[in-house]
Symmetry: C2
Subunit: 243 residues, 2 copies
DNA sequence: GCGACCCCATTGTGATCACAAAATTCGCGA
DNA sequence: TCGCGAATTTTGTGATCACAATGGGGTCGC
């Protein structure tokens, strides 16, 4: 049996394609790929220790979800962020996520809230250690643990698609600036959940999105646009480029 | 050269996969597949006159877009509609489509509106002829011709994904009942566009969605649920099953 | 007559190969 | 030293084959 590196530990019954997909998806959400970075099927296949077929399937799936894009040359790369696209992301998030949270509220149990608190604490720990990856993973878990409770698969899928599209970009922002400056709206959200305050929960989620996104947008987009839009180099290097 | 049946006429530079994808997607949006109907890679490949690889790519893409689904058996089939999923579709449409229309309004030119009118007339023609397929195609074109003008690719993509998910279901409804009973909210929408009335346009789109969906939901879901939820047979036969 | 069981056709998955197009590299010439 | 072009490498696409699992159909036993 050939030695596989990542994408291992298939929970029995998972196809290679599924395993590769989850690995890549996780990496995108955590910001493991830099915007503008090119990915190749054979390159990923070598890295993950599988043949090109499962990688091909996974990459096509991610392209369908807009997490990756294919340009006319048929070259696959991580999409760049533009001001326009950024505004679309913000609007989409603000439209759907507070709504999902509000719909999750009625079915929320005490243990659900406890679990969310634990996630939020892990976010704090990651932040104090300067662990950007841990922060992003926690942030993702916090939001989607809430949204899942709404039991609205369609809206949930749409929101996931949006997150996949700004994941790489978020990493650039959080990698460049100190996350500890951010006000913690998660606490406000938790408080609203405990008291069953729907309006408060909506507001907290909206504020969390608004802060995070405006933070990202102002800093990074201004930077990118000032630095010239053509084929700029990326100071940021992915966490595990070829490890 | 082997004789191809459908998916022909590749506009030069289109891959076989892309061609197959568009063919299948069109067919789904028009309701060419019945909910619950199983599709096989080799079957589609034979029908379309291509090998299984492009079909495999296209089907996986449609699965990623939730237009098709793969059950645990790894069998691919057209998703069924449930009451819960249906409510989610309605809510998602009501959330996004009036907004998209409103955003399209400012950049709408007289010729845009003329084109929309032409589409609406083709819908009337199809309706009077009892041409369900033409009606659905026209309805899709009418809505998305508007939404495209908003220049919001993200929201547009999300809406497309939602349409793909209720396409087969809509066909069941429209195939079973007479569409001529429907009030024409497209005219109201066109009137609002001409006068630049954003609120009116939002209302017209919302009403169009509300009418169409409640029509579908009340009739078909009630029917489906009354008829027993287990492995029922489908009276409806796809337009070109094996032609 | 009916049910359980076995066999085989069919399914999606994945590997490997061939191919054309694109990008990169190398070398030649000015 | 620099620019341009040809050769080579690398890319995604698609075809074909092998394989394991699933499902259906037919047959045998009761």
């Amino acid at each position: 049996m050939p030695a596989k590196r990542a994408a291992d530990a298939q929970p029995a019954g998972m196809t290679a394609h599924e395993s590769v997909y989850r690995t890549l998806r996780e990496r995108i959400l955590i910001g493991g790929f830099a915007p503008g970075m090119a990915v190749t099927l054979r390159g990923l296949a070598d890295t993950l220790g599988v043949s090109v077929m499962p990688v091909r399937d996974a990459v096509r799936r991610l392209i369908a979800e807009r997490a990756l894009m294919m340009q006319d040359n048929r070259r696959v790369l991580v999409p760049e962020m533009t001001r326009s696209k950024f505004n679309q992301v913000v609007f989409a998030r603000q439209s759907m996520e507070p709504e999902l949270a509000a719909r999750a509220l009625p079915s929320m149990t005490a243990s659900d809230i406890k679990a969310l608190q634990a996630i939020d604490q892990s976010i704090d720990r990651a932040m104090s250690k300067g662990d950007v990856e841990g922060y992003m993973r926690g942030n993702f878990q916090f939001h989607f643990a809430i949204y899942k409770l709404a039991r609205n698969d369609m809206l949930l899928g749409l929101v996931e698609s949006v997150w996949l599209q700004f994941g790489p970009f978020m990493r650039v922002a959080y990698g460049r600036y100190d996350t500890s400056k951010l006000e913690d709206f998660h606490q406000a959200a938790l408080k609203a959940m405990r008291s069953g305050d729907e309006a408060g929960l909506r507001a907290a989620i909206a504020a969390d999105i608004g802060q995070g996104m405006s933070f990202i947008g102002d800093e990074v987009l201004a930077h990118a646009e000032a630095g010239g839009k053509g084929a700029r180099t990326h100071a940021y290097v992915p966490a595990r480029a070829a490890s």
